[in-house]
Symmetry: C2
Subunit: 391 residues, 2 copies
């Protein structure tokens, strides 16, 4: 279902807010007059913006140093960023472990924690575990938290009971925007922005683990698709006459390149089993190179630890099946962030998609805000691909 | 090579311009005072913007109706859009025919023409043919033309001699921004915005013709990839043990679902040959559904005229190989715009990517402008995926 678009006026308003916040970040405390001069905004327009920023606790007023005679009119106070703002949390409700990460406004990880959980724990149980972790990391002081990005296992449509429930519970607890997405897709985003793909903008990430999943990053943003299931690349056919998969298809990559599949074929010590996994992963990736033309392919998950035994046949098959033009630019590398990638990706998502102090790192100054998500939810009842905490 | 990003101030400036233009479009002629009141901009900021719009011939001044006493200061004139602006041209330098289309500011096609050309004509010859067509369509009056989008056959990297040469020639002739892209990808864009996909935002288009190509549209925008080769979906492997393809791969879709392939297998009258083409096209599309999760698949090209004989096996294979979640939302339809799609797509591209009067139809008010392209070119010498006329 189409999501309603922000209006030009909303975009303009956000661009103005971003400009004010950017000036305060770079120049420290400023008077309203100075902000008006530097932004070119009228007093009325500026006043509306600063009032909103103060109400949202992004900006605080501080007394101006007394110097020279004061004129009449409103008291001269300076505006500056709230020093407690800008923290961001990422959570990964993984299959066997729950993780939480908190970063400061400078995008530095300031705290991290994890706890094992049984593979068949309910999402409610995982959520409560994660809330305990977050409480410890934040020391009870959630003030200044900008948002929480939560990774979950499996497709995220934004309408599923679990996705809405997870978003609601975190939202209730902290009163901030909550974005829920697939945890493997979030790992793709984190690897692109902070890991093996740092500096790249077009990336395909594949994770060879208990299942096979991944994520496609286009121009620095995660591709979610119409229904939020983009990146389910473990269920692309690689052997058309292969056996039936639990997804209903035949010959899916997951049947050859997951941990259980390799275990059944001799285990990770068996070169032939690992080579087959690599070759068929390369075949799948070759198809995506033709369709999406990434500059970088990142291979992660436990099987990636097999190194060259996996990657050499993968690269050989890739070369054999990729159009020369797309092949020319593409590199294959291992992942770098390891088990924290999913939680880190949650933070990246929040920074990209909420009206953050520091904007998206991609030069996109007008990222979709929670306000728009909420507006869309009011119309479409949370059918967007990302569940939000306020639904 | 990464393209330099517009700065927040450039984005802000463009948002202001878009707001001024939008007000003039919706409300007709307005005074500067009225524009200041409605935009919230200071006189100084607004003056800078209107001066630039007037210099660029997007806005003209007209005398205000005389009413009431005049105050002192600058003469009261009204600003309004230049009625001659907003025309846009699309060109398709196709394999056997060159086409040109011109639309007005209301996005209505006002003139169209085509001329056959031999399959082995040089790009220079095709370009001159297209310039003749455009001269006829424009009646020698290129004034008010916003830009030209040109479709060419084969991968477009933005650095190839042909791509640069085509852009330069059109740019010299008309002095407007020229964008060059693959003509099948442009057809995908046109079908998404004005054709079978109107209203959709996530679309995969496949064209079954002399070759097999296509385009992937994500969130209303054409996916180009890191090197500009995205959408070469005719060279995705569908039969891993199949014969060698001219691209260097084996078992590519084009070996089964192109006109020559079907001709060799019995011709378009032969049900089995057409069914095989449909089945293998469905297999390729199933993979893209998993990776990209489109809401709509558009099948075009001469083979699509086989109708149900092609589409029924295509849909059957798609259902058998697509993850249930992605399958739930996806529809398969035939193309609607026919042979003009490539030229129409050139116009859509220009409207989306140049700082147009009417902005992008996707709610993205700050589309990448030619100014940025040129800045990027100065650094990177036209290595971006789209060649521009000023290089």
């Amino acid at each position: 279902m189409p999501r309603s678009e922000p209006t030009p006026l909303t975009l303009l308003r956000r661009a103005h807010e971003a400009q004010v916040l950017d000036l305060l970040r770079r120049l420290g405390a400023l008077s309203r007059a100075e902000l008006a001069r530097r932004t070119g905004l009228s007093r009325t327009a500026l006043s509306s913006i600063t009032t909103s920023l103060i109400t949202r606790a992004l900006v605080v007023t501080v007394p101006a140093p007394a110097e020279g005679p004061r004129g009449r009119g409103r008291p001269v106070g300076l505006l500056r960023l709230d020093p407690a703002t800008g923290r961001c949390a990422g959570v990964d409700l993984g299959r066997v472990r729950v993780r939480a990460v908190v970063a400061n406004a400078a995008h530095e990880t300031i705290a991290t924690a994890s706890r094992p959980c049984p593979p068949h724990a309910s999402w409610q149980h995982r959520t409560e575990l994660a809330l305990e972790l977050l409480d410890e990391l934040l020391g009870g002081a959630a003030q200044g938290l900008e948002g929480i990005g939560v990774g979950v296992v499996g497709p995220v449509t934004g309408a599923a009971e679990r996705d809405l429930g997870v978003a609601r519970r975190f939202g209730e607890q902290y009163g901030v925007p909550v974005l829920v997405d697939n945890n493997t897709r979030l790992a793709a985003l984190a690897e692109t922005v902070h890991g093996a793909g740092a500096g790249s903008r077009h990336v395909v990430y594949v994770r060879l683990s208990h299942g096979v999943g991944g994520g496609v990053v286009v121009d620095g943003r995660l591709l979610r698709g119409a229904g939020g299931t983009a990146g389910e690349i473990g269920h692309i056919t690689v052997e058309p006459t292969g056996p039936r998969c639990q997804c209903g298809g035949h010959g899916c990559l997951e049947l050859y390149a997951s941990l259980p599949a390799v275990a059944a074929a001799g285990g990770p010590e068996n070169d032939a089993a690992v080579a087959r996994a690599g070759r068929l992963t390369g075949r799948m990736l070759a198809g995506l190179c033709a369709a999406v033309n990434p500059e970088l392919l990142i291979v992660g998950g436990e099987l990636a630890r097999c190194g060259a035994r996996l990657l050499t046949p993968l690269r050989t098959e890739l070369r054999a099946r990729t159009l020369s033009a797309a092949r020319a630019g593409v590199r294959v590398v291992g992942e770098r962030l390891g088990d924290e990638a999913g939680a880190l990706g949650g933070m990246v998502l929040v920074r990209q998609e909420t009206p953050a102090l520091y904007g998206a790192p991609t030069g996109d100054a007008v990222a979709l805000s929670m306000a728009d998500r909420n507006a869309a939810s009011a119309d479409g009842c949370c059918t967007g691909p990302v569940a939000s905490g306020s639904c």
